[in-house]
């Protein structure tokens, strides 16, 4: 698997004594959209947050096993570098309320104190906002506060903020669960465009969304990775009975 970007081997994660991610082995290939689905509390979000080492920020949270970004072990890298390389978009849009739209996009540079020439920053802002399909809506109000935007726009601003750092992978933690259907579809539209440059891993509660946007789907149940396959295959002929039960709505 030469194009594997993120790979986990026998990866485990805990909250205190609570074993939430159990022995997960998975290989995620470049430029694909991966949906991670499963019932509440199945460890999918925890697994996602392990990939950019956000998991360990919660007191009592631990992880063990191998998790690699290309050939580098994520858990021996500097977490700051990991998060440069693996961006994240959260469940609720969380633009920085004290920053303008412009500064929100370059927040990764600004807050880290990285010195970048103004012309280049302008360029990054335009490119990122264009990629996030937000440029046309905000190009005349770049210096207004980001929190004046609608929920869907704010979420796309957060996506632009992640893109601006030019990561390898972008993690999405239920990115549309706080959005209305129209904003949801515009964000879903984005996934298709973003995968030409990035690898996307999307945690979702919504099976239809997983089916619509992803190339491959991972199904988590009670902390285990039950099945990981092409989305079409998974939704038409799942190989595991638990996947089948979940997809057909026999438990949730």
């Amino acid at each position: 698997m030469e194009h594997t970007v993120v790979s986990a081997t026998n990866f485990n994660a805990w909250f205190g004594d609570n074993h939430v991610v159990k022995d997960v082995t998975i290989g995620i290939e470049k430029n694909q959209v991966i949906a991670v689905m499963g019932p509440s509390g199945c460890g999918k979000t925890t697994f996602l947050r392990c990939i950019n080492r956000m998991h360990e920020l919660i007191p009592g949270a631990t992880a063990k096993g191998s998790l690699k970004l290309y050939d580098d072990e994520v858990y021996t890298m500097n977490p700051i570098y990991v998060r440069y390389k693996i961006g994240m978009v959260f469940q609720r849009p969380n633009p920085f309320p004290n920053l303008s739209i412009y500064d929100n996009v370059i927040a990764g540079y600004k807050l880290n104190g990285l010195k970048v020439p103004k012309a280049e920053l302008d360029n990054i802002v335009q490119k990122s906002l264009t990629s996030a399909a937000l440029w046309n809506e905000v190009k005349d109000s770049l210096h207004k506060k980001g929190t004046f935007l609608s929920g869907g726009q704010q979420q796309r601003l957060c996506i632009a903020r992640a893109i601006a750092m030019e990561p390898e992978v972008i993690l999405f933690d239920e990115p549309t669960s706080a959005l209305d259907p129209i904003s949801t579809s515009s964000v879903e539209q984005l996934f298709h465009e973003l995968k030409t440059n990035y690898t996307l891993i999307i945690v979702t509660h919504n099976m239809q969304q997983a089916a619509r946007v992803s190339d491959k789907t991972a199904f988590f149940y009670l902390g285990e990775l039950v099945e990981f396959d092409n989305t079409k295959q998974m939704f038409t002929a799942p190989s595991d009975v638990r996947t089948q039960n979940y997809i057909t709505g026999r438990f949730s």
């Binding site: 950019n52 956000m54 920020l57 007191p59 977490p79 700051i80 570098y81 990991v82 998060r83 440069y84 961006g87 994240m88 959260f90 609720r92 969380n94 633009p95 920085f96 309320p97 004290n98 927040a107 990764g108 600004k110 807050l111 880290n112 104190g113 506060k145 929190t147 957060c158 903020r161 992640a162 750092m165």
Partner: protein, 281 residues
Amino acid sequence: MDARIGIRNTKSTLFKGLIVFLAFLITLPLIIVLLYIIKQGITQVNWHFLTHVPAPVGETGGGISNALLGSFIIVVMSSIVAIPVGILAGIYLSENPGTKLAYYSGLCVDILQGVPSIVVGIVIYFWIVKPLGTFSAISGSVALAIMMLPIVIRSTEQTLRLLPPSLKEAALSLGVPYHRVIIKVIIPCGFAGILSGIMLSIARIIGETAPLLFTAFGNPYLSSAITKPMETLPHLIYTYATSPYDEWHNLAWGASFILLMFVLLLNIFTKLITRKWNIQL
């Protein structure tokens, strides 16, 4: 049925009337005190009053410049100590709510807030005034800084706790190191709240008299030497109001008026900046 609804409506109206009346009633003491002090004090205040030291008994005129300068110096010195320490402690408490240290230091802050100010004064008297052998502005500042600390700590903590955790996560997920998250995201977002806490703590200590009685003590002359006794507004009011001379009573009224106006303006100003700089989350 109709009759019962009528009775209920009457009861509702009466109840509403009662709470409106009580809400109005509680503003009365403030208004009466304000009006009385303004009436007594405003006639005393003029340029001469603000720029001269108190006149000796028997002479007319005289002002409160020594107390104005003293209060200013002492409050500034207290703030320099209490504000940074208070903000940092507040950040710690809001960031680590579950830890033992946070629990116990939070408890200490609450107790400190409840310590009578005169007790703080006595302690500082034994700690600083006695060893140094003289009353001093420094000892007064330390006493006031101790009074100020719990207010700054608690208001910082409460402001920062209201910030959504997602804000911090957003910054951390961009690879921003923890100390920069605090300095560049958390503090700016809570700035209005922190600042209003600081202003209120200043408004609180500017009128403190008890701890200054045996620390800064008072001084009838204009002095900016921080190792020497220094006059302050509340202490001047205390000494001159308890004197038997009418001229001195007038001086005390004028000083009360100035002190009251300062506190009032500080409160109004605080409200304004909180409204203006409040960040919409």
